[in-house]
């Protein structure tokens, strides 16, 4: 069955990337349809994100996109009226050994080169930002006060309702099964419920990005791996920035936590070795592992009560950078996959960029950004602190 309407753009996936993209596309005057397997927006990985938003990456592409995202998040409530839980609480990477300190300080040089607001704070200064953090061996920390956090749930739904108001259409509970290709173009997107003729198609399918790309005969090296996260009861605000401890330990690469706009502490750990696939079931390994590390670093957390935990996927690429842009294999097909667990922070900036790509209105900066995210790159590098 072919649905009567022809859409300028069909977006596959109503998640961290697809929804803000639909918003930007609709506001740019394009007709947009978003197809989503699950029952409502943000139900795959967006709701699993803990909500950290930073521009302090290591390359032009991510920095530029996230800087724009931060502008959008930070100004959203004033501009659009929705509470999205934005908090300009900053990020910090404490160092407890010389190796970590050296690594962080070297990266800081790059970040400062891009004009980012980041500095090194002494252990005493850090203890004021995170009162009661372990001082034993603390050598200082990075601190980037303009980074922040927001509620992925509130933000995505705000984008969703605003995109609908701008004319974007959504079909939930509908899985894309084929892309009808003719003459090197996607003519229509076929789902288990219908077929939609489109001018262009954006793959924003997150953890399923590789499967969707294959429908267009394309391959992208996106491999979801699993991270477990949890949230506490809300308590009175007691520390400032996101704390990222990058010291590897047996079983885990790093872990991070912050106190969100509700006063709840949200935390997440990166397992080592990675657990590949889409596996949403919780295991008994997570709590003791993450809790020991967190309480050891920050004893005050011991009496904080944990409310809920979950598992989600980082759609990883080999080098830790997203895959965004057109593909020579299908002229009207645009990749927006492989966000490597940063889809939420990249989303709003990327949404605007995708709208410019769809309208062939890329700026010079955009072209430079897209060099970092090139689908045809060799995936050899590795991003610092991915």
């Amino acid at each position: 069955m072919t649905m009567g309407k022809t859409y300028d753009v069909v977006v596959i996936g109503a998640g961290s990337v697809g929804v803000p993209a639909a918003l930007s596309l609709a506001r740019a005057g394009l007709s947009v349809l978003v197809l989503e397997t699950l029952a409502s927006p943000g139900q795959l990985s967006n709701k699993k994100a803990i909500g950290g938003i930073r521009a302090t990456h290591s390359d032009f592409g991510k920095i530029k996109v996230c800087q724009r995202s931060i502008e959008i998040f930070a100004g959203w409530q004033e501009r659009e009226g929705d509470e999205i839980g934005w908090l300009s609480n900053g990020y910090s990477y404490p160092a407890y050994d010389a190796g970590t300190e050296k690594k962080l300080k070297e990266l800081m040089k790059v970040q400062l080169g891009f004009g980012l607001n980041i500095r090194w704070v002494s252990p005493e200064e850090y203890n004021e930002l995170v009162p009661g953090i372990s001082m034993a061996g603390l050598r200082g920390s990075t601190y980037s006060p303009e980074d922040g956090s927001a509620s992925p749930l509130l933000a995505l739904n705000a984008f969703y309702f605003k995109s609908r108001a701008a004319g974007a259409e959504y079909r939930f509970g509908e899985t894309v099964t084929a892309l009808r290709l003719e003459k090197g173009r996607v003519q229509a997107v076929v789902s288990d419920r219908g077929e939609y003729v489109c001018g262009q198609v954006i793959n924003a399918a997150g953890a399923y990005g590789r499967e969707v790309a294959r429908l267009a005969g394309l391959d992208v090296p996106v491999e979801p791996d699993n991270h477990e996260a949890a949230i506490s009861e809300p308590v009175k605000r007691f520390f400032g920035p996101m704390v990222v401890d990058i010291r590897p330990e047996p079983g885990s690469v790093n872990y991070y936590f912050y106190q969100n706009h509700e006063g709840q502490v949200v935390f997440c750990i990166t397992p080592d070795p990675p657990i590949l696939g889409v596996l949403n079931e919780s295991t008994s390994a997570f709590f003791p592992q993450v809790a020991k590390r967190m309480v050891g670093l920050y004893p005050r957390l011991a009496s904080l009560r944990v409310r809920r935990s979950w598992r989600g996927q980082y759609p990883m690429t080999p080098d830790g950078f997203p895959i965004v842009g057109r593909d020579a294999g299908a002229a009207n097909y645009i990749h927006a996959v492989g966000m490597c667990g940063q889809g939420f922070m990249l989303g709003p900036g990327l949404g605007e960029l995708l709208a410019r790509i769809a309208r062939n209105e890329e700026t010079a900066d955009d072209r430079r950004v897209l060099q970092s995210f090139l689908p045809t790159r060799e995936f050899k590098g590795v991003e610092a602190l991915k």
Binding site: S232, L301, A302, S303
Partner: protein, 692 residues
């Protein structure tokens, strides 16, 4: 509320004065009983507000009394704790949890050991009637069984059931009070070397790697079972109405925990919504606790609970408003009154039929939802799992004991034990015990006015037959089915009154014409102790439905120490002797509506933890949202301390009001943990000295 709210005398329960200790509430010294639930100590001292909700800053009172929500959060010795799960200690410094609690400052990490791990063949979650009965079978068959329960005393809700049980004497100890049955089962389990019992141990989650996280006496442990039996019981449903978040609105089960387990009196005058057995029994327990029951509203044209339960309440002077629903609970911070209205055949309130009743508490008894999540988790993890009791299907405790035994055998067989086949008669009995009450039949009075005879005021088929079992002359027989049928007197009564004593429905009297044919002695059962009663007093006799028959003299009183039901002998004119069943306790003035109705103020909540209004949810539903997860994402309904346990039914009822087909609703995803656990405990802290 008066200053001192302890129940010092109870017709059924022994009152243990305990050890009096001093603790501090907001700096003021108070006295309480060592080891009692902190929340109950506070209630006994007249405290009904434990803190303020962080979202709307309104005060919060007791709600679940079951460790599930966080409405009773207080700060005890610097830590935020659920006061209903925290035993009172001498010198404890307790303060109200106003808005967000502050984490205690420390720079010293606790000692963190490895998380202890255990292996058992069978894990039974919940030591209520079903779990205990299953454990008895498993122990008998030599299965290494772990029975975990989140409360201090095993027994589950049996601990609260001061009334005598229905069912049959031989199979489900009919005629015995629930508390005693619970104790007997717990003793049997404790004596079995194959069964390990962990009290104060809350199952938290069945993980995908087949480990079960358990908070054992404040310490986090992992258990690896080969088979799981979910006997975790049920949770109470809530209702959407304006004022449903006020202090004083809570479940009937929570209420029974306070009055029957903790012997505190959280109310002086309450109203009940819901005429199932839970609501009816709660009303009876309230009167036993010396609390006035201003009325009971039931939306259906007839109470869903047993007629004998409804009759008991009506006879004590509680008006039962069938085809009525609650419109609002009224008050600024706490319940001051409740407004009800008649409903039409589609359960819509009829304007102009509102009535307002003064009360300080509104008990919500509109049904139970099975705690099914452990079953689902075990299935997902690939652990063979069975369910019994309310966790499987909501039914009476007598039925739960039966299907617990059946499930125990099934678990044993799953484990390869040479357990006997479940006798077909057990299955049949388990089904029978679930039977809903039948039609109300016209009353048949025994003929003649000579000698002595029982008069049976039991007019509705329910699974119950102890009267026939105890009669020494076999003069009471069940008409039709030996368990379900109605009891009929047909024979030679010797006046022993055993039937009067054992009847759980208090629905049998004895009429004795032998001394005085004109004024026979009518023996009625009586289970109240808060009103003085002496020989020579005059009482207001009533018929089965509570209609007055006149004032009668108390000729004699007889206390039965074992059964605890008192026998009151009334001298009654022969004309009405067979119709007298009981005597009224409450005055009509207690149950009269207020002269002017109170209009609903404030809004109905769909999520009580996060104070999300029903209208906020309604707006989303009208915008096309059908995924509970999206409602949660936008409104926070379901993100609160209770983990979405209370709001799911509330949100579903907003969907229903909006005419959304239930099949279109995507249910909310359940995640670990079952209750909140401190991070230090999850890190392997040893839990010593912890409040919870």
């Amino acid at each position: 509320m008066s200053e001192y709210q302890r129940i010092l005398e109870h017709p059924v329960l022994p009152v243990d004065p305990g050890e009096t200790i001093t603790y501090y509430w907001n700096g003021k010294p108070l006295e309480g009983k060592k080891g009692e639930a902190l929340s109950s100590a506070l209630i006994a001292a007249g405290v009904d507000a434990f803190g303020r909700n962080a979202h709307d800053h309104s005060p919060q009172g007791i709600f679940c009394a079951n460790g599930q929500c966080s409405k009773c959060l207080v700060i005890a010795d610097g830590r935020p704790v659920k006061s209903c799960m925290t035993p009172l200690r001498a010198g404890m410094k307790v303060s109200a949890a106003d808005d967000l609690p502050e984490l205690p400052e420390t720079t010293q990490a606790p000692a963190m050991g490895a998380v202890p791990e255990f292996a058992f063949d069978a894990l039974v979650i919940g030591a209520g009637p079903a779990g205990l009965s299953a454990a008895v079978e498993l122990g008998r068959l030599g299965i290494a069984t772990l029975l975990v329960d989140d409360k201090h005393e095993p027994g589950g809700k049996l601990v609260l059931q001061t009334h005598k049980f229905f069912g049959s004497v031989e199979d489900s100890q009919a005629g015995t009070r629930g508390i005693r049955i619970g104790r007997k089962l717990a003793e049997a389990v404790a004596a079995d070397p194959h069964v390990t019992v962990w009290s104060d141990s809350t199952a938290l989650y069945v993980y995908a790697d087949r480990q079960v996280g358990i908070l054992r006496e404040g310490r986090y442990v992992l258990v690896r079972p080969r088979v799981i039996l979910n006997a975790a019981g049920a949770r109470e449903k809530s209702l959407v109405f304006p004022g449903n978040h006020l202090i004083g609105v809570y479940g009937a089960g929570a209420f029974q925990t306070l009055v029957n387990r903790d012997l505190v009196r959280p109310s002086s005058r309450l109203f009940i919504v819901g005429g199932g057995n839970v609501g009816l029994i709660a009303g009876y327990h309230a009167i036993q606790a010396g609390i006035t029951v201003a009325g009971l509203a039931e939306a259906l044209p007839q109470c869903g609970g047993y007629k004998v339960h409804a009759d008991k309440l009506a006879r004590l002077g509680v008006p039962i408003h069938t085809a009525h629903t609650v419109r609002s609970a009224n008050g600024r911070e706490r319940v001051e009154s409740v407004t009800i209205a008649r409903v039409d055949e589609r359960f819509r309130p009829v304007p102009g039929t509102e009535k307002t009743y003064a009360c300080d508490t509104l008990l919500v008894a509109v049904g139970l939802d099975p705690i099914s999540e452990f079953t689902a988790q075990a299935q997902a993890a690939g652990i063979p799992v069975y369910a019994a009791g309310d966790a499987a299907e909501i039914a009476e405790a007598s039925s739960a004991m039966f299907n617990g035994r059946i499930a125990g055998l099934a678990v044993a067989r799953e484990l390869g034990a040479k357990a006997e086949e479940v006798p077909a008669s057990w299955q049949a009995k388990a089904e029978l015990l679930k039977s809903h009450p039948g039609q109300v039949e016209p009353q048949v009075f025994p003929e003649g006015e000579e000698g002595v005879m029982p008069v049976i005021h039991c007019l509705q088929e329910i699974p119950c037959n102890p009267c026939a079992t105890v009669c020494p002359t076999e003069s009471i027989r069940m008409a039709g089915d030996p368990l379900l049928g109605l009891p009929r007197y047909d024979g030679r009564c010797i006046g022993c009154a055993k039937c009067v004593l054992i009847c759980p429905g208090l629905a049998i009297t004895l009429v004795d014409y032998r001394r005085d044919k004109a004024n026979p002695i009518v023996t009625v059962p009586f289970e109240m102790s808060h009103v003085p009663l002496a020989v020579g007093d005059r009482v207001r006799g009533v018929d089965i439905d509570g209609n007055p028959l006149g004032e009668f003299e108390v000729a004699a009183l007889q206390q039965n120490r074992d059964n605890l039901t008192r026998l009151v002998r009334l001298r009654v004119p022969a004309a009405v002797a067979k119709r007298v069943v009981a005597f009224r306790l409450q005055d009509e003035a207690d149950t009269r509506p207020l002269p002017a109705n109170v209009e609903a103020a404030g809004e109905a909540k769909a999520c009580l933890c996060e104070r999300v209004s029903a209208d906020e949810v309604r707006r989303l539903i009208r915008a096309g949202v059908t995924d509970m997860n999206q409602i949660k994402a936008v409104t926070r309904a379901g993100m609160g301390a209770c983990g979405g346990k209370s709001c799911e039914t509330l949100i579903r009822s907003v969907f229903r009001q909006e005419g959304v087909d239930p099949g279109r609703i995507t249910p909310g995803t359940r995640r670990p943990l079952f209750v909140e656990v401190p991070l230090g405990v999850l890190a392997g802290e040893d839990g010593q000295g912890r409040g919870e």
